[in-house]
């Protein structure tokens, strides 16, 4: 990146005069992620901006940007049409303003925390010696929801390409309504409160459409490795992900079988690249 610290002013039109300006949330090698809004200030959204790369030939640069934005959007639209929980696509511009300004896509804003953050809250509490009642049970429930979400996605023929706990959000429901059980009066959230919600898969920048068991197994393998390194304390919980995944759609069992093979040899089958 030639501009290590871009401010919102470096966004392309039509975002140049947005008031208040979009807030930069994250920056990757390919894209910037902003929090802004769609049409009206009451509708928050995420803006993914892929700037042009000055070191690429302009023609190639435009083609790559266009291709990547459209492919991510296509996958997201396919998922939301098929009922997989992902952010919906609101608007996009794969061509940019014609002056080589890159392209962008606006997506639905997903409330909540990433699964990674949520699991780390629990791990931290327990390290501090705070016992969170029913934590294991509720983590197991969350693992099941992850298995089901990934299963649904694979069922419709989409592979994510970068499944990690940072690329899964836990979207809480509208309101917290417990039948009078919140009268404990303590402000410490319960395990159920921390871990409740719907699993929403995000960041389909590396996603593709595939019905091959190999690709799905690699997806699971990547997630398994990510779990092992990010949440060693929850590693045995991953068995629950696989268990529920295996029951989530026809053909899932075959993928799990394939996963064993992938584990033995690693992610790359072809041994190229």
């Amino acid at each position: 990146m030639n501009d290590p610290n871009p401010n919102p002013a470096s966004l392309p039109p039509p975002f140049t005069h947005t008031e208040p300006p979009p807030v930069l949330l994250a920056q990757g090698a390919e894209a910037f992620l902003y929090h802004t809004y769609f049409l009206l200030p009451s509708r928050p959204c995420a803006l993914k901006y892929r700037p042009s790369k000055p070191y690429r030939h302009p023609t190639l640069d435009k083609r790559l940007t266009r291709h990547r934005i459209l492919s991510e959007a296509r996958t997201l639209v396919k998922c939301s049409r098929e009922g997989v929980s992902v952010p919906g696509v609101l608007a996009l511009d794969a061509e940019g303003d014609g002056s080589g300004g890159g392209g962008w896509m606006m997506m639905e804003w997903i409330e909540g925390k990433t699964v990674r953050e949520v699991l780390q809250v629990g791990a931290k509490r327990r390290k501090e010696g705070v016992l969170v009642e029913g934590w294991e049970n509720n983590v197991e429930g969350l693992m099941g929801k992850i298995g089901r979400a990934v299963g649904r996605m694979h069922e419709v023929g989409v592979v994510h390409g970068d499944l990690t706990t940072s690329n899964m959000m836990l979207r809480p429901g509208k309101t917290l309504q417990q039948n009078g059980e919140t009268t404990h009066g303590e402000h410490m959230e319960t395990a159920e409160e921390i871990l409740r919600g719907e699993v929403v898969l995000i960041d389909f920048g590396l996603a593709g459409q595939s019905l091959q068991d190999e690709d799905k197994a690699v997806d699971l393998y990547v997630l398994e490795r990510a779990f092992g390194s990010t949440h060693p304390e929850a590693e045995e919980g991953f068995q629950e992900v696989l268990k529920v995944y295996g029951e989530s759609y026809k053909g899932a069992k075959v993928v799990l079988k394939r996963l064993e093979e992938v584990r033995m040899r690693g992610r790359k089958r072809s041994m190229l690249g």
Binding site: P13, P14, F15, H17, T18, T36, Y37, F38, L39, L40, P41, R43, L70, A73, R74, L76, V77, S80, R81, E82, G83, V84, G88, V89, L90, A91, L92, D93, A94, E95, G96, D97, G98, M105, E108, N138, E140, G141, L142, M143, G144, K145, R148, G151, R152, G173, K174, Q177, E192, L195, R196, G197, E198, E240, K243, V244, E247, S248, Y249
Partner: protein, 219 residues
């Protein structure tokens, strides 16, 4: 009571105001359509059959897309107003989109949209011209009114989203089937889903439509 609404969409230049009027019981649709076909400059509006619009967001997303293409000087149709109607479509066939979403001789619920592409176009000039040109009842441009005029079956057909309601249910049922373990967690959510079924379906449909409008043909 109701009057023409002037909106400023997020991210668009402040001077590019959007004027929107929703009419019911329109009596002179055939005449209005003829003006468009003859290329009468005074009638340069996006005239949309409101029965194929599910919500304010739906039509405004098309306005946003057309306005952005207008600002970047890559309109595919004659002007930004026809581009709005074209942008509502899910494919690159201009004539088909104008036929499906534009005014027809039978249109009785009509959305008229005009962009202030020139400083001489103000909410006053637009509302004066509309009130003398359209024979119908002006109602508020709101989700509630569009919900009354929307023909959901027709919309699903136009966007080929026939499966949304049913498919969604199928998916949800499947989810419940496979959720014996840890289902105590999702119970709360499922209850809510059951309560707002129609509302939820409408939201799902809207999200899917916005995606198709954004992609347009690149699916």
């Amino acid at each position: 009571m109701a009057e023409l609404q002037t909106l400023h969409l997020a991210h668009l230049p402040p001077d590019l105001a959007v004027h929107v009027a929703l009419y019911t019981e329109v009596q002179n649709a055939a005449y209005l359509r003829d003006q468009l076909l003859q290329g009468n400059q005074d009638f340069e509006y996006a005239l949309i059959d409101a029965s194929v619009i599910i919500s304010t967001t739906h039509v405004l997303a098309a306005v946003f897309r057309a306005a952005n293409d207008h600002l970047n000087k890559r309109l595919k149709s004659r002007n930004v107003h026809s581009e709005i109607v074209f942008s509502l479509g899910a494919n690159n066939n201009i004539a088909q989109s104008l036929r499906s979403f534009g005014i027809t001789a039978m249109t009785s619920n009509l959305l008229a949209i005009k962009l202030s592409t020139d400083p001489s176009i103000t909410s006053l000039t637009v509302s004066q011209h509309l009130s003398t040109s359209i024979k119908g009842t002006l109602v508020e441009f709101s989700d509630a009114n569009l919900a009354n005029t929307a023909d959901i079956a027709k919309i699903k057909k136009l966007y080929r989203l026939g499966g949304i309601g049913d498919d969604g249910n199928k998916g949800r049922r499947r989810r419940k089937d496979g959720s014996e373990e840890g289902s105590h967690l999702s119970d709360g959510l499922n209850d809510k889903e059951k309560g707002g079924g129609a509302e939820r379906e409408r939201k799902e449909l809207e999200v899917a439509i916005l995606g198709l409008v954004a992609l347009r043909g690149a699916v």
